[in-house]
Amino acid sequence: MGILIYSVVVSITLLLTAIGFALVYGVSRLANFAHGGLYILTGYLVWGFLNKLGVNYIGATILSLIIVAVVGATIYQFVLKRVRGMPESEIIASFSLALGIMEGLRSLGLVGFAYTIPVFVRGTVVVAGVPVDWQRLIIIGVGLGVVAFLWVFTHYTKPGLALRAMAQDERAAMMLGIDSDLMAVVCLALGSALAAVAAITILPLGNITVETGYNVLIYAVAVCVIGGLGSWPGAVVAAFILGFAQILTTAYLSPQWHMVVVLLAILLTFIVKPSGLLGRQKQLEERV
């Protein structure tokens, strides 16, 4: 029972970290490798606002969310826009931005156990005989909330529909008067804000470390690759598969094997179905 509950928690955690990446890739075909960097940046921002500037908790989270969204939009406007359509340059540029953010934070001396951000609600609750702390339950709530919000947003609001239109056919969307660059900026801001939401809900469970950034990037990408890049239902399914696989390896092997499981899952996906579990787009092109 404990395994089941914690697997669900880990799955939702993975989903939360991955959904921003999936959104950005799905809409603008840009692999935003800076995702992990933005995630970790949020952690430090919240910490800084709380402990250095003395802002209260709600203010700190909202300010960090806004700042990270602006950073994401800036990254698109000034860097990624110039290299769009050149896959090598896109990957190199966003990857080096990610490294720049993370190693920059490291060199500022933000390393150690002192960097934690508070949980929303303290204490634990017993669910079906297993003690679970409130924060993990909140993660589940926030995760489901984000998925629901995204579904409503992309199905019933104008900007959301425009984003989906771009994901399906950018040229046709442009013919209908959708400004593709503007929508991509919106999309990157939204994706970065989602990374920030994930950071704010997940980071209270542990310390903020720079390595977390790399792990988040890898897990996010793994979830998207396994689920099929650009397919959100796929991301949900893949997050659950990886989450359960991780908890099972922790339970029966040791935590060091997490990464191996992730890599094996990716390789298996490449061999069996390169476009991912539920990915339909570009199936022919990717498989050569």
């Binding site: 190199i92 191996v260 498989r287």
Partner: protein
């Protein structure tokens, strides 16, 4: 002329056109035009160790060549095979460990263990990356990014190959001259061999795969097999640098899988000129000494590389070498539109 109604007109220099065919050997001036840039590079690299008196800068020269080689491998994979490899450190690590383990367990001579590390390591890393090869672009980039992050953890978890202490007591080279000339000669040979290779039929097929793999497949050529060969060549170059570094330091550790070896070659090849193989050497000659002088900044260095990288890729995507080549081969002037 106002800025908006002018454009730059470029014309090939006469001497460039004349030296394209067999007639290049008809006049001393044409021969000089062709030979001087090449000789400057070759002789320059060969003489440089004699000019550097300080042992510190002699070691830096070795590192310059190491990064030049790694960047050649990255450049070749990206611009001629069409797969972006973000995990160059994986090649370094695999080559280094293969060579180190062979050396410490069988007491091979350094020559043999470097050769074994190069080709054995290339075989291992190609085999491990093989499942990812059908994937392109971002897919391969992601998978290759994971490998160098993964292997140190496996080594730590299983406590094999000396665990976190690494493999120690490896025979080093007899003196600093062997250190330098070995890697310089390998660098030059690799550079010119790769340049030759990409203009052969083999290289044409690889470039075809990069541009339009469906067309290559339609011509009845096995795409994955050619990609595998390309990957093997690139990983052999990477593994050589690993094996060389292990013998240079007399030690192999998980720092061989470090981030420096992944990101720095990319920076070098972007600064030097994407797609121009010589650019890797030139970029390395510029960036590595710069990075040595920035050593005091610690990990801030990586951030500085990243800023340079982003700056170059957005503002000057052609890189330095392409720029110089253009100036050498063409003259340009403004014309009214």
């Amino acid at each position: 002329m106002p800025q908006e109604d002018r454009r730059k007109k470029r014309l090939d220099r006469g001497v460039k056109v004349r030296t394209e065919g067999i007639y290049a050997i008809s006049a001393p001036r044409d021969i000089a035009y062709l030979l001087i840039p090449r000789l400057v590079l070759i002789l320059g690299l060969l003489i440089l160790p004699l000019l550097l008196q300080n042992i510190y800068w002699q070691k830096v020269l070795c590192i310059i060549c190491v990064f030049g080689l790694l960047s050649l491998s990255f450049n070749f994979l990206t611009h001629f095979v069409g797969i972006v490899n973000l995990g160059n450190a994986f090649f370094v690590g695999v080559g280094g460990y293969t060579s180190a383990v062979l050396q410490s367990s069988f007491k091979l001579s350094p020559v043999l263990s470097i050769i074994a590390g190069t080709f054995g390591g290339a075989l291992i890393s190609t085999t491990l990356l093989l499942p990812c090869l059908p994937a392109r672009g971002i897919y391969f980039a992601i998978a290759s990014l994971m490998y160098p992050l993964l292997f140190p953890r496996i080594i730590e978890a299983l406590n094999i190959f000396g665990g976190t202490d690494g493999v120690i007591g490896i025979t080093t080279f007899p003196n600093i001259w062997v250190d330098q000339y070995l890697v310089i000669i390998v660098l030059l040979v690799t550079l010119f061999a790769l340049r030759r290779l990409v203009n052969e039929d083999f290289g044409l097929i690889l470039r075809g795969i990069k541009d339009n793999d469906q067309a290559i497949r339609a011509s009845g050529i096995g795409v994955t097999w050619y990609k595998t060969q390309g990957l093997f060549i690139a990983s052999a170059i990477g593994c050589f640098t690993g094996a060389y570094l292990v013998h240079l330091y007399g030690w192999a550790g998980i720092s061989l899988f470090g981030l420096d070896f992944s990101i720095f070659p990319i920076a070098v090849s972007v600064v030097g000129g994407s797609g121009a193989l010589v650019g890797s050497v030139v970029g390395s000659l510029i960036l590595v000494p710069m990075s040595e002088t920035l050593r005091a900044f610690g990990t801030l260095r990586i951030m500085i590389y990243c800023l340079i990288l982003v700056g170059f890729i957005t503002l000057k995507p052609e890189g330095l070498m392409r720029y110089f080549t253009r100036k050498y081969e063409q003259f340009e002037h403004w014309t009214r539109v």
